[in-house]
Symmetry: C2
Subunit: 382 residues, 2 copies
């Protein structure tokens, strides 16, 4: 079994705000070691060597690692900083990130994305790695085909890694079972996205969008890693319930804030906005803006969804409409309210003061590190 670094994980004294960045660095090393030392690597011979190394570089690309960090911190909170199982824990965190890479790989195929984390998506890398005499369209398809399969392989590897991380077998079985059910729910959220992409913006309701947020962000990004950490730490059922209640407002707030950031960053090219439109993605922001627009502006927005090309002027117009509609300010205040709700849930819970402060410290850390506000929004008034 590959030996992974876990010194920071074992440090009992660090307060959460100092622990997390160090943990993140240690996690990066562990992930890189895991992929470099894994026996699978040596079975990828000849043409497949290249595939493996593309996968390796894709997974180890600079990223926020929200899920493994939430998982590690959650375990620490509920195990009372016990240093037992540190390496098993790091291995499980790696498993969660492998799984997340699988999700990104298939998502990028579904969305026809060319870029991920500032570099080419995996299907694009594999297309380039094929060295085929085939025409470009065929090579593109072969790249996608290889990426579908590599994604599936990564999924299997993630579950295998979690299953064999080294925790006692009863807890392992509980955690893996829970994990697989979260996978199913994430998939259900993705299916809803596909359904919504097939419909006009007027035919997708606010509550339908909130449901996909609940499945894809709340459950997948927040609830799943926090719960798995807690389950493997043997947390009591009451604590698990607090986590479930806490993540509901938190997940929604993060997703909305993320949508808002995409719109308010003046330096951004608006590329993400355009891609979302072309893929038929319905965000709460777009949906709520649509509701507040007049007839001709609605028609314009609807037409943008169905366009095959959008000029810079059109993108600027969309941004302007969304920002001036009032939907932006409404959602900004929703975000504040949701975070306040989350804090209240923790404060009135029966978690220990130490546990409460660590959970909220973690949330603050993530807010600062992942939701840092870009430049001041145009027309948002605040």
């Amino acid at each position: 079994m590959i030996s992974l670094p876990c010194d920071v994980l074992m440090s009992e004294t660090l307060p959460i705000q100092d622990l997390v960045p160090q943990l993140q660095a240690e996690f990066e090393t562990a992930l890189a070691v895991f992929l470099r030392e894994h026996p699978l690597r040596s079975s990828y011979t000849n043409g497949l060597t290249q595939f493996y190394s593309e996968l390796q570089s894709f997974v180890t690309r600079r990223a926020k690692r929200i899920r493994p960090l939430l998982f590690l911190v959650s375990h620490r909170i509920f195990s009372g900083s016990s240093t037992a199982h540190s390496e098993s824990l790091m291995r499980s965190a790696v498993a969660l990130e492998l799984f997340h890479s699988f999700i990104l790989i298939h998502d990028d195929i579904i969305d026809r994305s060319d870029r991920r984390r500032g570099e080419p998506t995996l299907h694009r890398l594999l297309e380039a790695a094929l060295h085929s005499h085939k025409p470009k369209a065929d090579r593109a398809r072969l790249g996608v085909n290889a990426a579908i399969v590599l994604g599936d392989i990564l999924f299997a590897l993630a579950v295998e890694t979690l299953l064999e991380a080294g925790f006692p077998s009863e807890r392992t079985q509980l955690a893996v079972g829970a994990f697989l059910r979260y996978v199913g729910e994430t998939g259900r959220g993705e299916l809803l996205d596909v359904l919504h992409a097939a419909r006009d913006v007027s035919r997708v309701s606010v509550s339908e969008i909130q449901r996909t947020y609940a499945l894809k962000t709340t459950k997948y990004t927040f609830e799943c890693p926090l719960m798995l950490g807690a389950i493997l730490a043997g947390a009591p059922k009451a604590s698990l319930n607090v986590l479930i209640q806490f993540t509901k407002p938190v997940g929604l707030a993060f997703q909305i804030q993320n949508d808002l950031n995409e719109f308010r960053d003046e330096r951004a090219s608006g590329k993400e906005i355009v891609e979302d439109l072309f893929e038929g993605k319905k965000t709460l922001l777009i949906r709520k803006a649509y509701d507040r627009l007049g007839k001709s502006d609605r028609l314009f927005l609807q037409t943008c969804f169905d366009a095959t090309r959008l000029t810079e002027a059109a993108v600027n117009r969309i941004r302007e409409l969304v920002l001036s509609s009032g939907a932006f300010v409404e959602l900004e205040s929703d975000v504040s309210r949701l975070f306040a709700e989350a804090i209240a849930i923790i404060k009135k819970s029966r978690l220990s003061p130490m546990q409460q402060s660590e959970i909220l410290g973690m949330m603050d850390y993530l807010k600062t590190s992942t939701l840092a506000p870009p430049t001041r929004p145009r027309g948002s008034g605040g």
Copy 2:
């Protein structure tokens, strides 16, 4: 937990040839009950109801069920017909078939197939179920996207079902771990297929093709279900090794015979042959025929791989070339030799006479039921 039928499974007296068809019928019922009663179903509301029911009908379509049958028979052989865990066993067999459906769903996307088991492929069904105002090309893509995700969901459900089938936790962990490694190997075989599709037929060697057969047929279709059945029955290591040795010639023989059948069936339209060519599939038969052809015939065959359309005359010419090349007869005799090898491995093993006779009985049953010879081949000489 859903209650599944398992009466045939518990019958201790039936000889293998009578048991298997009855087991198959019972398995069909169990699979249908599982999908109908699964709690997941009720979470697929609104537009997703349709997706779930398409998935359900896709999975329960008439099929050979080789993998669950091999699994059930293997467990019976190594548990000494013990009737303990019968329902857990049926649940695990269902899990294997769910997983197989996932493989088929992604394979059909990769191969751009429109038909599977005589009906539309899942991505085609989902495309039709979308009721979108979008143009046809967009709907086709959304159908593919939904099928990628439903495949992933099915994979998660399969592992969850195996994990929670109800076997003692140590055996469960061994079986699920082994299963996930087989998934990885199957994927590796599929990646090799993608690599080979990108190359000219002259640039893919016989041993490379044999390697994909070993990964995709031998390991996935034969070794995996037999091993999982044996592991869950607590079979000793020596018996597991016999199974691994036995499946090597058996898997190769089945795959080759399958390739041969595609070619020799005069009634068939040659559609499968054409599809394989267009997808760049390199079978042992095509590869060996290519080696034996003269320069101009090689050029013709190579050109067929790169064509965008093949007339009936071209298909007939390919068939003629392959059959008359001598490759067909050579591979036919390979198949006989491989089956003889498999029998010898079992006979000289330390398995009990009863176990030996049941394994060979199972192999004979599968030969008859899945490799039944169609009409006499043209030019194969026998």
